[in-house]
């Protein structure tokens, strides 16, 4: 994207606008935001190339006080928006404001952004409870602490945000408090850092956590020791921002054609007068759909309109696989099949799903099947094909093509050469194996 250069005549003294912060007196959010202002001023960052993404809560109000781009999103999801922004425009500085509440509800996003090393700067405003909603406990509330939802003391243990981010790959991880003198420097460092940077900043919620727990600056510093946690810069390793890395990986792909049209020329005649319904009923994993698709291509090469709808369970390679194909000289609207003119039945799984077809078929219709199902009750005329007589090795994965080819020969909807060409053109890799199967079907049909 073309970006017009901006003229900064004199150095900026602040990146705050004239609006006063809305927080309670003594709220740690004020301290952290002032630190950030110092960091931005130190960097003389271009406000048009910087986006502050804020989460929900008191902290979610904070983006409004800066003269940068701002994105105020949903509770816990700030990291997802920030990731999208960074991926779409890797040159932007993307800074996330999130509370300990947002960190809890959006934990999966934090872990994944850390793991991917998306080049964000995440500032966790960690005041050990939900401020905005009235001081409920959060994932970082210390064990035993009193909050609106732990009136008798918190029975849970706190999440170690830094360890979680760090162990999952975050390149830059810092733990400190809103009282740290070096916070502006650390923030500036994190903003300039290439990969995922997280600063877990402990602070005071003077409206709730402080009065509920007799908790002040001294107690907060003490908590670090009680929990046996380390503070300061915990991780600082060389990693590449995900957004840039993704683009670097794609360099060789640039300009390659995308989903090009695959026009099919009509080369063969056909003998189809109205809608002709053909069903192939077999087992999942036995190349039923692929045999049906080849028949479809062959039909199109023979000037027909074709549709194919498949039915199979959600599981893979087990259970039934049914392909319903319609060939028609005119455009096909309705793609369903209730009474097929031909059914190729190749397995027990297929039989279980063919009851409706078999019941609806009449003496004008044909059932193609293997000796195992020779006694299947139906009014349809039966053509029994014995794969053992094929003369080539027939396996679970080429039986579908063998019966499809035999059926197409017998039905004579279009020349079998169309099917062979479909194999050569659309299944190039397997042509050597599949062409002999199609050839073998001739012998089977003439002997049936």
């Amino acid at each position: 994207m073309a970006v017009a250069p901006i003229q900064i005549e004199e150095p900026r003294k602040t990146y705050k606008n004239e609006r006063p912060f809305p927080f309670c007196p003594g709220c740690g959010h004020t301290l952290i935001l002032n630190h950030l202002d110092k960091a931005l001023t130190k960097l003389q960052i271009d406000p048009t190339q910087t986006v502050i993404v804020s989460d929900i809560g008191c902290v979610g109000l904070s983006d409004q006080y800066f003269t940068t781009n701002a994105f105020h999103g949903l509770h816990g999801r700030s990291i997802t928006y920030a990731t999208g922004i960074k991926l779409a425009n890797p040159d932007l500085n993307v800074i996330v404001f999130i509370g300990d509440g947002g960190t809890g509800i959006g934990g999966a996003h934090l872990i994944n952004a850390a793991r991917r090393n998306v080049g964000l700067t995440v500032l966790v405003f960690n005041n050990f409870n939900f401020g905005m909603t009235g001081g409920e406990h959060s994932v970082t509330t210390p064990h035993g602490a009193i909050t609106a939802t732990t009136r008798h003391g918190n029975p849970e243990w706190p999440l170690d945000i830094c360890a979680t981010a760090g162990v999952n790959g975050a390149g830059y991880v810092y733990r400190g408090t809103s009282f740290d003198k070096d916070l502006p420097d650390r923030m500036a460092e994190a903003i300039q850092y290439d990969g995922f940077a997280l600063l877990d900043i402990w602070e005071l919620c003077t409206a709730y956590f402080v009065p509920n727990n007799d908790f002040g600056r001294k107690e907060m510093l003490g908590l670090v020791d009680t929990l046996g946690l380390e503070t300061g810069l915990l991780h600082h390793r060389q990693v590449r921002d995900y957004a840039h890395r993704m683009r670097e990986l794609a360099v060789d792909l640039a300009g390659k054609p995308t989903l090009p049209l695959k026009p099919i020329e009509v080369k063969y005649p056909n003998n189809v007068a109205g809608k002709f319904h053909l069903v192939l009923a077999g087992s999942a994993g036995a190349k039923v759909r692929s045999a049906a698709k080849l028949a479809g291509y062959a039909g199109v090469m023979s000037g027909l309109w074709v549709t194919q709808r498949d039915d199979y369970p959600t599981t893979v390679k087990t259970g039934h696989s049914i392909s319903e194909i319609i060939f028609s000289p005119e455009e096909i609207r309705y793609t369903g099949v209730s009474r097929p003119e031909a059914l190729a039945l190749i397995s027990e799984d297929g039989l279980k799903k063919s009851g409706r077809y078999l019941a609806n078929m009449t003496g004008d219709d044909i059932l193609f099947t293997i000796p195992q199902f020779a006694d299947v009750p139906t009014k349809a005329r039966k053509i029994i094909l014995d794969p053992k007589a094929a003369g080539v090795r027939i396996t679970r994965t080429n039986l579908a093509l063998l019966l499809m080819a035999a059926a197409l020969r017998e039905l004579n909807l279009f020349p079998i050469a169309a099917l062979e060409e479909a194999v050569r053109r659309f299944q190039t890799r397997f042509a050597d194996q599949n062409l002999p199967v199609i050839a073998a079907s001739e012998h089977l049909i003439s002997n049936s």
Binding site: I6, N69, T83, L304
Partner: protein
Amino acid sequence: MAKEYIDGATAIARGALAAGCDFFAGYPITPATPILLHMLNELPKVGGVGIEAEDEISAIGMCIGAAMTGVRPMTATSGPGISLYSENIGLAIMGETPLVIVNVMRMGPATGGATTPAQGDVQFVRWGTSGGYPVIALAPSSVAECYTLTMRAFDLAERFRTPVFILVDKEMNYAMATVDIDEYVDAPVGQRPLVPQHRPRPAAVDGVRVNAVTGKPDPRLRPEETYLPYDFDPVDAVQPTSPFGGPHITRFTTSSHDEHGFLTKDADKVRRLNDHLRLKILNHRREMAFGVSDVQEEADALFISYGTTARAMREAVDRSREAGRPVSGLTLHTLWPVPEAMILDAVAGHQRIIVAELNHGQYIREIERLVYRDAAQRRILPPEIIGLDRADGELITPEQFLEVVNG
């Protein structure tokens, strides 16, 4: 007349690429996964970005964030994923985010049937987020329409700065079909209105800052914001935007906001914002109304349908006419906002209206609402409105249509 043999998912992906889609985030779910696979494969070739997100909430969140940098995002999912999109759909409406959401519907409720066609999310996408604000939803009923309507979805998303749904189902996404290549009709794709890039900033006339959009001096402007991103004038007009990374700073917010993008509870300002979000869609519904009306003068019955079910309907219409019985058919390509004029035009003169859909009767509510209100206003007797529903995983057959019309 060259032909192709492809599925709807490929046509949707191609339509997206043709419309300039350059960002896709999604999470795998049958029957929407083929679109995810195509987009992740293809986007790097055009300098775009495709990502498999950690969940659906993240997928749509990434799309919304990305959209604000000026890219054209798309995501694709099915009912269970739309459930997780819900809160962010509201955010996209509130933030006036151009975003195309493909919902490949599967049978519900809950996990329902992953590989079973259904059209049960029609009212869900309309009312799927808090507040009840309008969305746009298009429903193709052929592979070629998947291509064209995807382009239209991008056009509407951009021009109206709003999320647009494409509603298809497993049948449309997966079924292979012959397509006449001439039927891939390119739709014009517009662009979201942008703040003129060339205007100097911050600019001032006699010490008063100048609005970058109107060029007029405006004392309300802050030093860093030489335009008001949410100063709707008139209230139903889409405002120019400036992408993150462009020459202006921009504010995006989930909360009720004033003309600057700052949080507000001022009733007048909140009302103006909410009217804007509603009326920018509803007052332009005619521009969004697509469909195929095939009305026969002598017919007493009109079928109305959409998506996969409209295919059976069109076959039934052909068969009925061949059998000497006139019948009319209306295929809706736009479901939301309801194409009221198109529907009332088609309904006029018919005694029976048959609304067919793969659910327990969702869109029929809109038809009833429209037709009964119209009849009451005009003091005429309304036609009979009959639902043809199915929700067992099978398609509605042409025979079912014919039974209703002949029975």
